[in-house]
Symmetry: C2
Amino acid sequence: VTDTRLELELRQQPAALERLLLAQGATAKELGALLRRRDVRYLLIASRGSSSNAARYAQYLLGRANRVPVSFATPSLYTLYQQPPRLDGALVIGISQSGESPDVRAVIDEARRQGRPTIALTNRPESPIAVAADAVLPLEAGDERAVAATKTYLNSLGAIALLFASSTRDKSAFRELELMPGRIAEQLERSFEDAALLDSYGGIHGGTVVARGINYGTAFEVALKIRELSGLLFEAWSAADLMHGPVAAIAPDWPVIAIAPSGPTLASMRTVIDGLVARGARVAVVADDQAVLAQGAVPLRLVEQIPEWLSPLATVIPGQVAAFHLARLNGSDLDNPHGLSKVTLTL
Amino acid sequence: VTDTRLELELRQQPAALERLLLAQGATAKELGALLRRRDVRYLLIASRGSSSNAARYAQYLLGRANRVPVSFATPSLYTLYQQPPRLDGALVIGISQSGESPDVRAVIDEARRQGRPTIALTNRPESPIAVAADAVLPLEAGDERAVAATKTYLNSLGAIALLFASSTRDKSAFRELELMPGRIAEQLERSFEDAALLDSYGGIHGGTVVARGINYGTAFEVALKIRELSGLLFEAWSAADLMHGPVAAIAPDWPVIAIAPSGPTLASMRTVIDGLVARGARVAVVADDQAVLAQGAVPLRLVEQIPEWLSPLATVIPGQVAAFHLARLNGSDLDNPHGLSKVTLTL
């Protein structure tokens, strides 16, 4: 039974992604050319909240695409301090699902003042940020009303993947991306099947999500989603940073979700999972490899054979479903959680 | 009674900072000229752990200095993925107290391969990272043996402040910086006086540290220090991001430490403190303004009239002392906490 707006939107994700790919392929091709411009030495992304988690995907993916480094803006330098950096060499991308964030807007305005190219990724092509930027890549996620972003997050990743494929002019990348709506639909089915494994998490107070490399942003998004929906104290760490001290707070029985799809980061993730299991943590593993799934107490299966560069579109799904399931266990109001509002305006 | 290595090193901080300023002023002047080079379009910092918290100070301070944007490296692109970005326009700074981090080393090596200038900030001028870089700014913190970094962190901030003062050639900045060892000594006294106010925190499980702008890194450092020493689940948020959803997990009585020195971010911090108090959080306020101190349940006083750009050198002190005090309340072994080791090597 689909009884909440949130679950409806969760399940709309494959269709939303398909709509984006069909509607915005041509625009993405034009914008991809911008990323290859010789005077673009780095990308500067301005974002807040879930959009910042999508921005981390861009950092890894677009960093590998044209070997162009990706940096994040510090909006308060533009707003509170009124000392914006000089931006020569930058291509500025604002990501804002609502298109309303005044601080993201401030970074775009400053870039235009300095004559630098700007792109807005937003679900609202008529919003202030879209109007302020030179070019817009609409997210095409459709109306999203649940406070917790799901399909706008997935489509932000999809838009970044489109920019990657078009900036590298890699035809196999386009073909791999076109398969993703179907893979996401399979992933949703599988993750809803696995969700009952989380019933033993009824009495938890919090948890830690850990990932590395291209899924670093996934860790933040999954932690944020659980936190927003259930009010549980979930946090995210890079597997590399966690071992530099913060692991001290991982006590026996503490819930950990390890995002460990196949790819270059898997060996490093396996070592970290072993270390966490040795400390007695209760580890749920999001993986496609059977041996890796067996390392933890709770296996959360990924659909197999998704290319590593697209894995964040799939790995977030078990996390979203876990957030939904944990919030229900916790008795939260899924569409109006914990006094949050859909759009937050910060300067 | 000074009965631990940690407390000894905490109290050595004013002397350590003074040593840095006396010994490395001339080197900092040379390096400051590098930051003004016309082909330097942005700074790229590679770091892990506490050094990444110091890097956030550099992001705000050096971003304001010559209006040169500061970006953080994603070491796994250089190591696990072996797809390093092109670095034209970058000046690369590696920060590593031990000088051992292989991933920080990988970023420096790649920058040299691409013919870009590199600087190492390290407490060990003979370490691999120092040897790999074109230039070294030694931290001069002296021998640090407690697992939790204190004086190497303070001196990392001091080194960044020296680079700021020398790159802007601002004589009043040098004078303000030279006063800091004395101010830090006062701050230590005041913070040890205030520590007893934290006795009521004996039964807590975790907490949240919140800050904005130039003290954003301070929030991470204070949370890390408490976490490393006491094993309590402390986390850090930008005041702007916290209100975008993560605040859902701030339940009544949850401990919050708000870093709120006078300056451009104070109005925004005051609003956030009010919001947290309204949610029933138990807020300790680190501030110099009496009205701000009165907003929270626990006032942790800052020494007055420290210039905002240098405030992170002072604001970390009440956090370090709180970490020390909470760990004692918790019965932790302060010099060998929670199975951590002093140097962590990640690729």
